[in-house]
Amino acid sequence: MRTLEFERIRERVIQQDHQSGLKVFVIPKKGYNKIFATFATNYGSTDNTFIVPGETETTRVPDGIAHFLEHKLFEQEDGSVMDKFAKLGSEPNAYTAFTQTVYLFSCTGNFEENFRLLIYYVQHPYLTDENVEKEKGIIAQEIKMYDDNADWRVFFNLLGAMYEKHPVKIDIAGTVDSISQITKEMLYKCYNTFYHPSNMILAVVGDVDPETVFKLADEGIIATENPGEIQKIFPDEPQGHITGLVERNMAVAMPQFQMGIKDNSRTTGYNLLKRKICLEIILSMLMGRSSLLYNQLYEEGLINQSFGSEATLEESYGFTAWGGQSGEPMKTAERIRENIRKVYKEGLNSQSFERIRRAHEGRFIRSLNSPENISHEFISLYFKGANFFDSARVYGELTLSDIEQVFREHFSMDPALSIVWPMKS
């Protein structure tokens, strides 16, 4: 057991390594009623091509299978595990992201029983031809819900414009067609490959006794032999975007747009965290609420409050993205492009750096109010070899020259643009 202290932000992480290879973390939140517990695997929608440990052939699975598996794990031989959580009064949930799948519950009582249940069910899949078939109807409706969601579509169309081959361009839930090909056998194969404890973590955020967490993990985790390294295979992705513009029409009132730039740096750990924060600060400097560009576009009625930006950085891909609603997305995009080119030539406004750095640090500290947020960020960064709480250190040591260097590298490429137009009437 070891403890990492983050004094400046008054947070602590207590870690224990299980003999199976599983890592267990407790992040204490004194005075909180809610305990937020997660069991997560380093396996997401982008992991669709891999070599199973011990095999030589490459396995390619249908799109949406990681998400399908997430749905199916709730089903146990004696019924849905959700009922058992419901009986305990806790709220179970799960989500599948591009690079991880996370099972969780939050509770305000009966922690031990809930935690045992979480550890048990994720390790005991119960798949039958029948229950796999039944799930297809439910997931088809989930897919269709996202099909009708313009925010989601404009974003995935942007990924489609940026990426030629990388599976990040594929919808997390797959398509109605791709999930129809999924079988019990394929699901078991993915499960057996990616759900070994050595590829997973347990993380508990809340006012909880760490010893109890470690003891329950010790009792519940099945320590089978470590199967060895999983070889995830990603295609060689070109450096540039595949197209500058993707458009479509949907039942929305006003056009929506997203622009973005691929990040071609391949990094990991603390450097990845630092680069991600750099990109976020650069986006604020260029087009955040306090920037000249944002305010000019806003005052001209070209953007509204829905405008926002984000930076995503993973080990196998990364990008910045920004956008919102606009009456004139083409014109707005051109203005943003011009501005980026201008700043690229003249350099970033150094006066804004310290102010924006401080604002980002303040928002990071405020985000520590939420156990959900801590859990989400901690898991996501852990699988990339970084510690979420090291963000405090990054904010402390960042310099303008760090920012300028990342800006030079990242913004050398012309952004891609995705637009969803209203239906033609």
Binding site: R10, K29, G31, Y32, N33, K34, S80, M82, D83, F85, A86, K87, L88, G89, S90, P92, S106, T108, G109, E135, K136, G137, I138, I139, A140, Q141, K144, M145, D147, D148, N149, V246, R248, N249, M250, A251, V252, A253, M254, G288, R289, S290, L292, N295, Y298, E299, Q325, G327, R355, R358, A359, E361, G362, I365, R366, L368, N369, S370, P371, M423
Partner: protein, 439 residues
Amino acid sequence: MENRKNMVTARKLLDKDGISFYSVHSDKFKTVRIDIFMIHPLQKETVSANALFPFVLRRGCKSCPTQLDLAQRLEQLYGASIEAGVYKKGEIQIVHFSTAFVSDQYTAGQTNLFDETGSLLLEVITDPVLENGMFKKDYFEQEKENLIHRIRSRVNDKMRYAIQRCFEVMCADEPYAIDEEGDEAGAAALTCEGLMERYRAMLSESPVFVYISGNVREDGIKRFTEKFSGLERNCKNTLPPLQAARQVGEVKRVEEPMDVSQGQLCLGFRTQIEANSPDYFPLAIYNGILGGGVHSKLFQNVREKESLAYTTFTRMEKFKGLLIAASGIEIANREKAENIMLEQLKAIRGGNITDLEMEATKKSFETGIKSMQDSQGAMVDFFLSQLLSGEQYGAEAFLDRLMQVEKQDVVRVAEKITLDTVYFLTSSSPQGAERSEYE
């Protein structure tokens, strides 16, 4: 019942000129929040102006006259936020201003963020940028345009839109049908003069509730509340009464076609039960059993058993005694889904409630109310709701009342619940779903 650790309460500090101050003190948060609510009855004549002025105020104030100035100032205050907005609870329109910022112990002792940010929020609300005694024309015109776009964009979120349309049809001749931001015609008709008049009236006459939450020292709170004494107040409005009783005639049925791949089916019910009625508690349990989570009848039957939907749930509008059941479904399954949804109501009326459904619903409330203590925003919303519904129960007493509900109480209130409106957002193309990805 397990021990109720850390149940935070809202302590009333002061009530002056129709402005009530509350403190929600806790030292576990890293954030301090100030929430200011202005209350007004939801009315066609005033709804649009009340929806607009907060956004005009948010554009700037005397010391930070532009949005850019304000944004830079907030960044200097360690990324503090100031938000303005409007929403409704039943037939009450609520204008909401808030600020959130880092607790002083995390800014290396360099600051007094509470004083600085609190003053800035108050300045945004009371000291706008003026031109000849009016709001700045540009700000007015731009925010009016933004309001119209927000109103048009309601259609973007299909489930939300369907629920809203269902309530509109249901309450066609009641104030509740009015959207929290009014309609496009109302927004288009706004004038700069009329807006100033409405803003002045709200600032002077509306009941105001102020909540300060987090780890704040008493002397800071005192300084903050004293700043309100400069306001010219003539508070004559009282809280509008709750109104849930309504005769239900023949079921209204509306289908609306749109270019969508999934249908949204909404069943709107009248419960005749007001938020301050003793029957409110069995109704809340009823709602939980019918559609409040994974244990609910809708989830178990519409989703798990029949695979008809991914999303299926019920929601209560407690200030108006309404209940809505909604499912996102395949267009062709409309009738089947409606029947299965209605069967679940029938089952409860017939007393077909399992121990698990009862227990899980109660436990879920217990978890919800205890978890609420971990979120300043959720706590403040709860306390305000209690005030507006004329209830004095704190979180603990509220929970006790829910725990006392028995099956027969649920069956009793089930009798009162009647179907009023069926709304279906459907596909405009005959195939429904099939569309190409890139056009």
